[in-house]
Symmetry: C2
Amino acid sequence: MLHKFYIMSLLTVGTMAYDALETPFGKTDRILGGAATYIALSASYHVEKSNIVSVVGADFEQPHLDLLKSKGADLEGVQIIKDGKTFFWSGKYHLDMNTRDTLDTQLNVLADFNPIVPEAYKDAKYLMLGNLMPSIQQQVLDQLPQRPKLVVLDTMNFWMDNCWDDLVEALKGVDVLTINDEEARQMSGEYSLVKGAKKIMTMGPKFLIIKKGEHGALLFHEDQIFSAPALPLEEVFDPTGAGDTFAGGFIGYLAKTDDISFENMKRAVIWGSAMASFTVEKFGTERIAELTNEEINARLEEFKSLVSVDIQLV
Amino acid sequence: MLHKFYIMSLLTVGTMAYDALETPFGKTDRILGGAATYIALSASYHVEKSNIVSVVGADFEQPHLDLLKSKGADLEGVQIIKDGKTFFWSGKYHLDMNTRDTLDTQLNVLADFNPIVPEAYKDAKYLMLGNLMPSIQQQVLDQLPQRPKLVVLDTMNFWMDNCWDDLVEALKGVDVLTINDEEARQMSGEYSLVKGAKKIMTMGPKFLIIKKGEHGALLFHEDQIFSAPALPLEEVFDPTGAGDTFAGGFIGYLAKTDDISFENMKRAVIWGSAMASFTVEKFGTERIAELTNEEINARLEEFKSLVSVDIQLV
């Protein structure tokens, strides 16, 4: 059993979804997915309780609600639309696992989602704006009477293409932005990630995390850069949810330790990377829902030996 | 002035060349290049003297020979073919700087290169087989009366495509192989670098370094993995010679410290990465030929802060 600090102040907005996936290793029908799902499961290894704002349809299965509750998710903020269907996404990954084709997207209840933050959630100290329409991310932030200690926003190229102005507006209220390397290039118009990061950090976020998949992640803050490796894996089985899992491990660690210094964010990036390295080992949430302390510690030890070096100057 | 150990036992075989380069930032006519050139310049920051086996034509300019000599290169093993021309390569880099088109290759004196290791070089303790025809790499190794303490071989996809059998034969006598990620996939037939590395380490090399350009490098040995970052740069001006510079910094550091443990190889990988990060800042050898102690130490400090993290277990 993990030793957890009881902090009630992690609030996550994000999708709860069903995904149908195809990878070079196999395929699935409708399995549990969605950014808020992965974030909550990943953060559950740090925080006793996390508050979720999301929306599902009547088809969302009770065992999936039960799983999230058993992991400390508070679902008061999850709207269940009686005559609606849960957001559905279907995709197929290429051999490199870094690129994928979307086969089907059914927004369903997400199309009219009007997020409502319950009163009990409004003292949130840590706010995770999971990958979603920027205007919805903004609405959640706007409902909080006082600004959280830390606001983390995850987004993707789709919103840059389709809701650029809303995204730029939302970024103004954000402390940490997480995107991948191609998205950082798209957002900044700079090929160099260092130049791009500098530009993006003038748009609102004081910290930027650039996720590079199998190549790890870069954390930027002012003139500081931290490079976190990804764990080299024998097999990446299914990358779905890796970014959300990263975000959940990252903000969960920060919420637990309640320390938002650059030094502690580096540790949080390693935690996020470690959690993401589990997610990709099986389909969907299978792996991230069942971890033990021993497995997590063994993985963190792997990260330690992966980066440990005693650099000698001239 | 660097404090250097006087070890006469680093031997490098490789090309000495003229390159004409085009990058998104500019172009050059015939500038000094070649694997042995970059390796010797990079290693010169560790070793007083390095022995070179190579070949050039009568067109190879005296100032370039003088530059190499001034950096401690012994050129007794460099054949100067009076009626021949120096190897010439011309290439154009794409915007991502990871891919390039070869515009022209003139093998010239390289076509009939018959490497001869001078007597004075034959006690080599550290042998760097720079990127070249595998059969030539093999001939150099075969001329040494006793096996060096460490043999490092660098190669590329071109030799895998055209001289596979010779390459496989040469690999049997090698301790450390350095290739890039695509080449590791091609050589092993495995997409996963972890699986690929395991397979390649059954072919001869006990250590494998996979170079990933802007994403750093991975060092494999038995079940151990070390992940070295690349320094995130504002601008990669010209990647030519980065891999050779890496190799020179790597083997130079090992020759200086005379320690081939995994722990020390990790430090050597950081040294190689640091030296390569200089090379790409200007065209050709311009940057690597002019470094000061202060610049190198400052760069190593950047690597330190880039990777330093105090990972906390659960």
